[in-house]
């Protein structure tokens, strides 16, 4: 009979200790800075993620820079007078292709494209139109 009481007493003591330990654990965790920020908030200081997002922006900046390499020289008011070589570069950049007139661009501005262009070099639309205009 005494053994049963002893066992129950030990069980009660054990449960009390376990419960106290559990609450201490909970309290300690709730004051831990790392836990309090939480997994979602902790993620915001992840350097790898930040780096990837910043790289994506840098890549877009580079795309914006190559979009119109000659755009500053073909402002709206000057567009009509834009040379075919300039137009070709702009369109080539817009289409993502290498301008085929880059080697002869300076000569192409005054109708002298044929003097330097190779007979097998593909002309841009505007270069061809200019040469077919006269």
């Amino acid at each position: 009979m005494g053994g049963v009481f002893t066992f129950l007493h030990m069980l009660e003591t054990g449960a009390a200790v376990a419960l106290a330990g559990f609450f201490i654990f909970i309290l300690a965790e709730s004051f831990s800075p790392t836990r309090s920020i939480g997994p979602v908030q902790y993620a915001v200081i992840d350097p790898a993620g930040l780096h990837a997002e910043a790289q994506a922006i840098d890549m877009q900046i580079q795309l914006a820079d190559i979009e119109y390499p000659q755009v500053t020289s073909t402002a709206a008011g000057e567009s009509v007078a834009a040379s075919p070589a300039t137009l070709n570069k702009v369109f080539a950049a817009a289409l993502g292709v290498q301008s085929t007139s880059s080697a002869s661009a300076p000569a192409a501005t005054a109708g002298g494209a044929t003097s330097t262009a190779s007979t097998t070099t593909a002309l841009s639309v505007d270069q061809a139109l200019q040469q077919l205009s006269h």
Binding site: Q41, V90, T119
Partner: protein, 259 residues
């Protein structure tokens, strides 16, 4: 912890490389279409060769020169049509939300008008002589410089702007989460440097958002492509500055955490 960081960095790098590959692949896609337009200086020189051919009678010379000119002008205009179509495909495949769809529709309509213009000039070509073919070439060249060049620039600006919106959404989420983390840390242990760094990030982000909206307005109002592009570039520069400040915030938070 170091292994987890390394794994995280490696995964991010792989994802970034995959993204870059996709984007570059997308940009490079029209190359094949553009390459099919292949009028050369040698083709144009055929006209001079006909003009200088002493064995031809005057009538033969005119007939052959006219045929050559018509063929070349026609091919050139069809090449320009293909170019307009490439712009249309790129623009149509761009995903935009809300009222930006209206602007996208307007630009697509303008590109459709460009295609109609080329068709009209091709139709004219069938009934003209040598001087008429020269006039058509002049008219198309002038129209491209005055109308198609600004249109194509606006289309490219719009596509660029549309691509930026996902970057702005990501940055907005990042700013909100970082703000919550900074508020919590400031509540427990005030840190002037941390608050200043976050305020700088917020200021840059506000500028970026404002410039992004101005760029959208410039595109919608049909301002010059230069103005739109300048605003787009400025918004990206401000967004980049935002992330530079967020790196500082990240470092300061990391240093404040128990190791």
């Amino acid at each position: 912890m170091k292994i987890a960081k390394a794994v995280s960095l490696a995964i991010s790098s792989i994802l970034f490389a995959a993204g870059a590959f996709f984007i570059l692949g997308f940009i490079g896609a029209p190359t094949a279409q553009a390459a099919t337009c292949g009028i050369t200086a040698g083709d144009i020189a055929q006209i001079t060769a006909i003009e200088n051919d002493a064995s031809l009678t005057s009538s033969q010379e005119i007939t052959q020169e006219l045929a050559a000119r018509k063929k070349l002008v026609g091919e050139t205009i069809m090449c320009a049509q293909q170019e307009a179509k490439t712009f249309q495909i790129n623009l149509a495949s761009t995903t935009v939300q809300g009222d930006s769809q209206q602007l996208q529709g307007q630009l697509l309509s303008d590109l459709g008008n460009a295609s109609n213009f080329y068709n009209l000039e091709l139709t004219k070509l069938s009934g003209v002589g040598i001087s008429g073919s020269e006039e058509i070439a002049q008219a198309v060249l002038a129209w491209r410089a005055g109308t198609f060049l600004p249109l194509s620039e606006n289309v490219n600006n719009f596509i660029l702007w549309a691509q930026n919106q996902s970057l702005f959404d990501t940055a907005q989420t990042r700013m909100t989460q970082t703000g919550q983390a900074v508020s919590f840390l400031e509540g427990t242990t005030p840190n002037v440097a941390l608050q200043t760094a976050f305020d700088n990030a917020q200021s840059s982000f506000n500028s970026a958002e404002s410039e992004n909206l101005q760029a959208k307005a410039a595109l919608a109002q049909g301002l010059s492509p230069d103005q739109s592009l300048a605003l787009i570039k400025q918004s990206l520069a401000s967004l980049s500055a935002t992330y530079q400040n967020l790196f500082t915030v990240s470092t300061l938070i990391t240093n404040n955490l128990p190791q």
